[in-house]
Structure formats: structure tokens, C-alpha cells
């Protein structure tokens, strides 16, 4: 038995060389690019007279800037159109596969790579987007990078990296009905803090993790970065293999058997040594909602906004800033907080099972008067699968809008945004000041089912009450 973690094994396998500065040159198995963080990298490549080292290991799509109403070209926004046209030209010039709008495979980069079978256990995955940690759900070492590093991967299929420590997040018990991976990860971040994971990779393990679907594992790993951990991962198991089998770019035939054997060997051994370990009990968790301006400012839906006295000394200035910005009173219950906009989607929670969970709440109910509620599938494949089982009709009948795939209102790079002081119930990942496109807009993060509950009641509501009804 090996004392190595999955992180150790994958790191060692991808080590190319020791660099003069002391860092490690790490081979990147899968490089994902999109329209926002790649144009300057391609321009730098051209300036340096370099070409793309392994064009077959880079895959592109368009997600951040696409409108979710009409996706007809050219886009109404000339800047958005220029960004997509630049991506198309760069991919064509360097023979990089681009899954564009209408291809049937376009969508949020962290949704499409797994569903195409591109993301596999044991890979290193890099993308110019912090939520690349999502791909760790497959037992890959996946992390976000900046544009200079995108340039480096294009040029050399490798990166200058320093090895992280590994913290095991062990979760006992089982999530209760109405409580989801989103609630678990918000609880982990609430407990360990938004900078608690700096310098660490998070290994999520234990009975509660083993019971999660791949969609849920992706939600969990997606938000590792919100806890400061550049990557999060789950050891590959039968759930992983069952998800991958038959995907377009997953191995097949005899290679499938060999792949499963290798993937199985990657999991952290029973005597693996971790730099740190923290334990949680899934059964004790309630649906969790953020009340403040960082993803760490979360509470159970049955709790009250913490008072200053309940807040550790060093976090009080941030809490005071959050009370002011959010206009929420310390000591008052978060349940019942009125919302204006309800957004279901994003790389965190825009997959089929997320839409199913939200539809189960929306079915037979109506969006409350005055609430704008919309559903944005994470990809064209998610949209098609949801429509095949009639989820679009469930949402439309309930008064939600059913949109085209994209990043949408998770961030403000497309027409979907908050206005003024609007407050959103959002299944996305960040509640930073101004994140959703209005400099004074406010965001409450929660699971898709909780967003649906907020949409039909008009306020933050414990979804468990609706599921029992």
C-alpha cells in the first residue's frame, strides 16, 4: 500500500523538470480555453514567435459573454462579438477544436468537458478560469490559471507550479432530503473560511462523498476555490466510471478496461498521509444560504444573520461591511428575506440534476408576483436532456424563463445582470459586491432547489417545507 495521496501520484506522473527558480514544470493533460482569458495569450504567443505545442490537448468553447436570449450572430454587443470572433480565428489558425454555439456541444466550459468525457481521472487539467477546480470531481488535479499561464500551456503544454499541501475533508453520514452538495460546500467554506484553503488541495472523502453523484461532486469541487483551495478532488470510483462510460471522448473497447484499472489505482491509499484533516457530519446540515459578501458568510436557512458579538474579532469589519451592503439586520432570521431575481444555472449548479431538483419544487407552483425567475442550462446537452424530459415545460408553466446555455448572471459579462439594489437568490458561486452586474446589487447563494423555493414564495424559504407539502 502506498502512503501517497491521489494528488501525490498525479503530480509525480506529470513532473517534467525542476525549473531554475525552484518550481516544478508540470505537464498539462487537458487545457480548456474560452473567449475571455485566451485572446491575450494567443497574441503573446504570436509576439514571441511561438506556436501551440499540443493543439490536440486544448479544447475551446464560448460561455462567459454569450447572451442567453438570442444567440444569433453577430451578437448585439460588438465587444462580445469581437471576443467570439477572435476565439474562432485563434482556434482555426492553431487547429484547436472549438465547440461553438449550435454545435450541440457548446456550454459552460466546466460543464461540457466532463459531459464530453474529456475530463478523466489522473489528468492534470488547466483553464483560465478559477472554477476549473470542478474537474477534480473525477480524480483529476484541476486548477485555474491566469492568461500568462494560458500562454505557457499553449506554448509548452506545461506550467511552472509549486506543489500544494493536501487537506482531507472527511464527511460522515448522509445528506438529508432537501440538502445538497451546494449546502455541504457552503457549510465547509463557512467553517474553514474563504482563505482557509490557501496553499492546499482539498480531498473530499468519506461516506457522504461516496454517495454523491458526479454532478454533486462537481458542485463540491467547483467551490473549493471559494474556500481558497485552488483545487479540490474526489477519488475515482464506480460512480466516476459509470458516468464516463460511453461519453464521446472516453476510452472504449479494451482500452476502457485498462483505463478503469489505472484509474482505480490512483485513489489515495488507506494509509495515505495528509497534511491536515477536517471532519464534518452531512446528516447535521440544513440548507445553507449566504447572507453577506463572501461565500464564507453562510448560515443554515433556520439560523439568524450572526450578530457582531457572535463574530470572531478579526472578521467583524467584514461583517459590518456586509450588514451595510446587504442591508440585512444582524440577529434577524434569513428565512423570509424578500428577493427580486431568482437565477438557476452556472458552472456550479447548471447541470441536469440541478434542473431536476429545481423543477421538483417548481412543478405545480407559480413564481411569486414581481419576481423575475430564469433557468439557464449549463450546456446545449443539458438543455436537450432537460427538454427531453419536459423540464423546460415545467419551468415555463410555473412562470420561469427558459434560456439558452451560458454563464449568464453568475457574472456580469453578458446581458443578464442585476439592476440597482436588486437582491438575487442565485445558484451560482460568488456573492461578492457587484458580482452580478450592478455595483450595488446583492446576491444570496443557495442550492437550485432553494432558488426555486425562493422564486415561488418570493422570499428565502426552507425548501424542505415545500418538499413535504
Amino acid at each position: 500500500m502506498s502512503a501517497a495521496t491521489l494528488y501525490d501520484k498525479v503530480w509525480d506522473l506529470h513532473r517534467v523538470a525542476k525549473l531554475p527558480g525552484g518550481s516544478t514544470q508540470l505537464f498539462i493533460g487537458l487545457h480548456l480555453i474560452h473567449e475571455v482569458t485566451s485572446p491575450q495569450a494567443f497574441a503573446a504567443l504570436k509576439d514571441l514567435g511561438l506556436t501551440v505545442r499540443h493543439p490536440e490537448r486544448t479544447v475551446a468553447t464560448v460561455d462567459h459573454i454569450v447572451p442567453t436570449t438570442s444567440q444569433a450572430r453577430p451578437f448585439a454587443d460588438p465587444l462580445a462579438e469581437e471576443m467570439l470572433a477572435t476565439l474562432e480565428a485563434n482556434c482555426a489558425e492553431h487547429a484547436i477544436t472549438l465547440h461553438g454555439i449550435g454545435s450541440g456541444r457548446q456550454g459552460i466550459v466546466h460543464v461540457i468537458a466532463p459531459e464530453l468525457g474529456l475530463t478523466q481521472p489522473g489528468m492534470t487539467v488547466a483553464c483560465g478560469d478559477s472554477h476549473t477546480s470542478t474537474h477534480g470531481a473525477f480524480g483529476a488535479i484541476a486548477f485555474g490559471i491566469g492568461t500568462s499561464q494560458v500562454r505557457d500551456v499553449l506554448a509548452s503544454q506545461s506550467l511552472s507550479m509549486n506543489k500544494l499541501k493536501v487537506r482531507r475533508i472527511w464527511v460522515d453520514g448522509q445528506l438529508q432530503p432537501g440538502v445538497f452538495a451546494k449546502d455541504l460546500v457552503l457549510h465547509v467554506i463557512r467553517t474553514l473560511g474563504v482563505k482557509g484553503g490557501v496553499g492546499y488541495a482539498y480531498e473530499f472523502a468519506g461516506p457522504a462523498i461516496n454517495a454523491l453523484s458526479m454532478d454533486e461532486r462537481m458542485t463540491l469541487c467547483n467551490m473549493a476555490i471559494e474556500g481558497g483551495a485552488r483545487c479540490g478532488y474526489v477519488n475515482p470510483d464506480q460512480t466516476t466510471f459509470a458516468y464516463l462510460q460511453g461519453r464521446p471522448t472516453a476510452p472504449s473497447g479494451e482500452a476502457w478496461e485498462r483505463a478503469v484499472a489505472w484509474w482505480s489505482s490512483l485513489a489515495s491509499g488507506p494509509d495515505a498521509v495528509f497534511d491536515d484533516e477536517v471532519r464534518f457530519d452531512a446528516a447535521a446540515l440544513a440548507p445553507t444560504v449566504t447572507w453577506g459578501i463572501t461565500p464564507g458568510q453562510g448560515i443554515g436557512v433556520d439560523e439568524a444573520v450572526p450578530t457582531l458579538e457572535q463574530t470572531p474579532l478579526e472578521e467583524r469589519p467584514l461583517a459590518e461591511e456586509a450588514y451595510r451592503y446587504m442591508d440585512l439586520q444582524p440577529g434577524t432570521s434569513i428565512a423570509g428575506t424578500p428577493v427580486d431575481v431568482c437565477f438557476i444555472g452556472s458552472c456550479t449548479n447548471g447541470r441536469l440534476s440541478d434542473l431536476q431538483a429545481a423543477a421538483a419544487v417548481a412543478r405545480g407552483r407559480q413564481v411569486a408576483p414581481g419576481i423575475k425567475a430564469f433557468v439557464v442550462p449549463g450546456s446545449e446537452q443539458v438543455a436537450a436532456a432537460a427538454e427531453a424530459e419536459g423540464l423546460d415545460q415545467v419551468f415555463l408553466a410555473a412562470g420561469f424563463e427558459w434560456r439558452e446555455p451560458g454563464c449568464s448572471m453568475c457574472l456580469a459579462m453578458n446581458p443578464d445582470r442585476l439592476e440597482g439594489r436588486q437582491i438575487s437568490a442565485s445558484s451560482s458561486n460568488r456573492n461578492f459586491k457587484g458580482r452580478q452586474g450592478s455595483a450595488s446589487g446583492r446576491t444570496l447563494l443557495m442550492s437550485p432547489a432553494m432558488v426555486a423555493a425562493a422564486a415561488v414564495t418570493g422570499c428565502v424559504t426552507d425548501v424542505r417545507e415545500l418538499l413535504q407539502a
Binding site: 506522473l13 506529470h14 513532473r15 517534467v16 523538470a17 531554475p20 527558480g21 525552484g22 514544470q25 505537464f27 493533460g29 475571455v36 482569458t37 491575450q40 514571441l48 499540443h54 462567459h64 465587444l79 469581437e82 471576443m83 477572435t86 489522473g122 489528468m123 483560465g128 478560469d129 490559471i145 491566469g146 492568461t147 500568462s148 499561464q149 500562454r151 505557457d152 506554448a155 509548452s156 503544454q157 506550467l159 511552472s160 509549486n162 482563505k195 490557501v198 496553499g199 476555490i225 481558497g228 485552488r230 476510452p251 482500452a255 485498462r258 489505472w262 478579526e314 472578521e315 469589519p317 461591511e321 457574472l411 456580469a412 459579462m413 460568488r430 461578492f432 458580482r435 452586474g437 455595483a439
Partner: protein, 216 residues
């Protein structure tokens, strides 16, 4: 404002410049540069986006204007911040905006990892310091915005010279790897990564997923 000072190049052994303090924990990259400024295919015009929403919010506030809008900090090149600065999105647009505004070094209680790496790739050191040191620096900058900070990257010390607050010297920290990369001028990784093509081929050759899983 956009600085006309040259961008970093070569070994980064020391830096001398005025300070500007932006106070607060967990200042994320959406605040450093709001997403609407990311609609671009070059970094050239990003200086105007630095802290754009915070600057608007503070423009007419009692606590305002934002430090980046105060005349006293117009020529500042050392940004002094608190903990977990640069958390959130991996957008390199954040350090690019700061660099194009004029920032050449940061001192803070702590930095988010991707932001730190993005700064390193531009030759901008993110030096960490004890909370007391950061507080002292922020107070000194407030008392005497014209004072010059002298950053000694080799000794990992920062010195403040001011006729108002006297002379002071503090320790700062930088992990050995990034430290060596900056002072040796080897912070631009591209050339180093291209120097090991044989090793790169050997690594690719042993990866099971690039060889039909036969090598496993």
C-alpha cells in the same frame, strides 16, 4: 490614471516608490476589476477599470474618494493591502489593471493563490507581512503619502523614509521559490518551459491516457 512607467523586466531586486493603502479583508478580483472591463481582446486599456466600482461608490462619500483617486497617491507604485487580497476569479486582468495603473509591488497580510501567481508572471512581487507591519505601513502612508518606500527584495525588508513619521524598517516574507525567481529574473516562465522539450516528450510518453492506457 494610467502610469507611463515601464513594466517589470529582468531581475526584481529592489523597488522604490510611494505607497497607496487599500484597506479591507477578502478584496476579490471582481472588486479589483469588475467583469464588464473584461470585454476586451487586449490588456492595454485596463487601468481605468482598477477598483472602478469602489471608486465610483466612494467618489462622493464621506470616507472618499478612493485612494486610487487621491492626488497624493497619483504616483504611488506600492499597494499595501490586508488579508486574502485577490481572492475569487483567476482573471489576470486584475494584476494587469493594477500594473497599468502604476503598481509595481504589493505588501499585504496574505494573498489569494492564483492572484499571487498571476502577479509573479508579470514580475510583480506580492510580499506578505505581519498584520502589525501592514497596519503600521498603512498608517504611515496615510500620515505622509509622499514618503518613499524602499523594498529590498534580496534582504526581504521594507524601509519607509519620512520626515513626518521617521525612518522605519520591517521584515516581509516571500516563499523561497518565487523569491528566487524574482531576484534572479527568472519569473517569466515561458523560456524555461520551452527549454526541456526532451523531458516534456518523456513525460507525455509515460502518461497512460495519451497511449491508450497501455503504459498504465
Amino acid at each position: 490614471m494610467a502610469s507611463s512607467a515601464p513594466f517589470p523586466s529582468g531581475p526584481i531586486r529592489q523597488h522604490r516608490g510611494r505607497g497607496v493603502a487599500v484597506v479591507g479583508a477578502d478584496i476579490d478580483t471582481d472588486r479589483i476589476i469588475p467583469a464588464r472591463f473584461l470585454k476586451c481582446v487586449t490588456f492595454d486599456d485596463l487601468a481605468r477599470g482598477a477598483f472602478a466600482d469602489d471608486r465610483t461608490e466612494l467618489a462622493n462619500a464621506a470616507a472618499g474618494p478612493h485612494p486610487f483617486d487621491r492626488d497624493a497617491h497619483r504616483e504611488a507604485s506600492v499597494l499595501v493591502v490586508n488579508s486574502n487580497f485577490g481572492c475569487g476569479s483567476s482573471r489576470e486582468h486584475a494584476p494587469q489593471a493594477l500594473m497599468r495603473w502604476g503598481i509595481r509591488a504589493l505588501i499585504g497580510e496574505s494573498f489569494a493563490e492564483i492572484f499571487f501567481g498571476n502577479c509573479l508572471a508579470l514580475g510583480i512581487p506580492c510580499l506578505s507581512a505581519e498584520p502589525d507591519t501592514v497596519r503600521a505601513l498603512q498608517e504611515a502612508i496615510a500620515a505622509d503619502p509622499g514618503a518613499e518606500l524602499l523594498l529590498d527584495l534580496e534582504a526581504l525588508e521594507v524601509e519607509l523614509e519620512s520626515e513626518f513619521v521617521g525612518a522605519n524598517r520591517w521584515r516581509v516574507h516571500l516563499d523561497p521559490g518565487p523569491h528566487q525567481m524574482l531576484v534572479s529574473g527568472q519569473w517569466d516562465a515561458t523560456g524555461q518551459l520551452l527549454a526541456h522539450d526532451g523531458d516534456l516528450r518523456a513525460t507525455a510518453a509515460r502518461l497512460p491516457y495519451l497511449a491508450g492506457f497501455v503504459a498504465g
